[in-house]
Symmetry: D2
Subunit: 176 residues, 4 copies
């Protein structure tokens, strides 16, 4: 592991650095729950990505790491841009208070599980005012109505933790 090399990468970490850091401290993430609102603020639809990960296909909300020296708002904007495209026109939140906080541990049985790391994720509901197009990391991006979101089979397609996150978002949006 070379500090010089990794320093050259700026806030990005080499795979070795990342693996090293992941066993030292909790890693900070942001989660985005994209929503389409009507003119009164009622939720028309909630959006999710479809991902192929490690041979399985599952749904996920846009999510990602907060980089060194990156603000939470910059991390939100970067992950939205990458996962939903430059034309998604997000309305980033006026307040940094997340509507939900998720904790993932690398040990099965202590809550939500993430084999790679101990992660803490701050989740935000983000109204989208443009067109969302999935980035190269995902197979598709789809909108679901409140009625569809309540279907257990759809919730079961969400990856570890994001099923809980969906139910937390539905509570926040008044469609629990």
């Amino acid at each position: 592991m070379s500090e010089v090399d990794s320093a050259d990468m700026g806030p990005w970490l080499s795979p070795d650095d990342m693996e090293y850091v992941r066993r030292k401290v909790p890693i900070l993430y942001v989660d985005v729950v994209p929503v389409r609102l009507d003119s009164l603020g009622h939720v028309d639809a909630v959006g999710m990505l479809l991902l192929a990960l490690d041979g399985t296909i599952e749904r996920s909300f846009p999510t990602g790491r907060v980089l060194f020296h990156e603000s939470l708002r910059e991390a939100l904007a970067r992950h939205i841009d990458k996962d939903l495209g430059a034309m998604s026109l997000p309305q980033l939140p006026a307040s940094l208070t997340p509507f939900a906080v998720s904790e993932y541990f690398p040990t099965p049985g202590t809550g939500l599980y993430d084999a790679r790391q101990h992660a803490v994720s701050l989740a935000y509901i983000v109204p989208m005012q443009g067109d969302c197009h999935p980035g190269s990391d995902s197979l598709e991006f789809s909108w679901f109505t409140p009625g569809e979101l309540r279907i257990p089979e759809l919730q079961a397609e969400l990856k570890e933790g994001h099923d809980v996150l969906l139910r937390e978002a539905m509570a926040q949006l008044g469609i629990a």
Copy 2:
């Protein structure tokens, strides 16, 4: 007082009815803190009305009563339309959870004071994406930067309770 007459008014109350009800139950209000956000969600400015009320001039956030059979969202939309104009293009909140709750009592010395009534007001931060023009009830509508909002003299121009509301909004917006 005639129930038939007042029933004819729909959700609006005659002055007699209003005065009668005001001595019976707490009256529900909504408060709007209009904000202009940059593309990352940072607050650029907070807006306030300038009103001439009972011979004094003071600043106020848009506020008003929730009518019988009117939803909170409809009340927010109606008061924004009346006070900031049809071109203000508000982004009404995805969640009905207010960022602050204010209680006004008709007795001096028990918290915030409102000679007319016992009122409970639910406050929402509302990003404005259009142009705000004051309605006929107010003299002007002005935007203030975070730096200006911290000036005690400006805060002192706000009417009873709205100075507290401004500081609560500043805390929520990360500019306390």
Copy 3:
């Protein structure tokens, strides 16, 4: 309807007054979700009342009207005392911001339904540190573990709106 008589009742309203006011303005309520927490703040159990109302038996969270000139905190304390007893030792919330807001309308099909009135209810999670004993209005008070709360049949026993409230509370408590 006599104003003199009703004024004599203080903040309480005569049945006639109550019926009159209920057709004029939204009526303000508070909802209480009683919880038992462990030393780290994890929820051990959520409590509900069992009520016999109009010939049907259903579960409910403690709830009730905010009286004229009564603060939200006083209303919470009064309804907890009445429904859960003087030994329930509630830890009333440090913040008045509710975790959920419910709207009930007297017209079927426009959201939550309450035949009697248009009501807006502010809901608070309240840790109980003593023993809860149901008041005379209810048949029993029971605690349910997070596992039990997820059972659809239990949720179906809750009265109109309180099933939604339970799911909103579970999201807030991290057990969605």
Copy 4:
């Protein structure tokens, strides 16, 4: 830097490891705003530590890092125990949603400043039901009434970021 050695330390990091990690990722903290509440939940007092740090004396809320594989609740309990003593009897929050989020950057001029690191801190209001005694890291622990908290000179004694945090807590507590 030896991974074997640092692995032996469990979640604690050697000074070298800590310095290394601090230049790679944002470091997660929790902040505690200790409060004393009356029986209705009104805040009687907010507590602060007095610290001697780098030759200067300043006030601070209890705060500290979240360790690898430590939950947010465990981190809150550990820092409260260390800073306020085993008899402080905190009522840890039922919800993990912080009332405020603070970001510190190691570059002056980009918001709050922390020379050591990029830190993101989640803040919680914690009612104390026992006796608070400062740990060995601090000179004293003092309670301040709402009236005292509004004094600019007291706010100026708080360390970088905690003056903002106090004003955010005051807003949340309804004493802004």
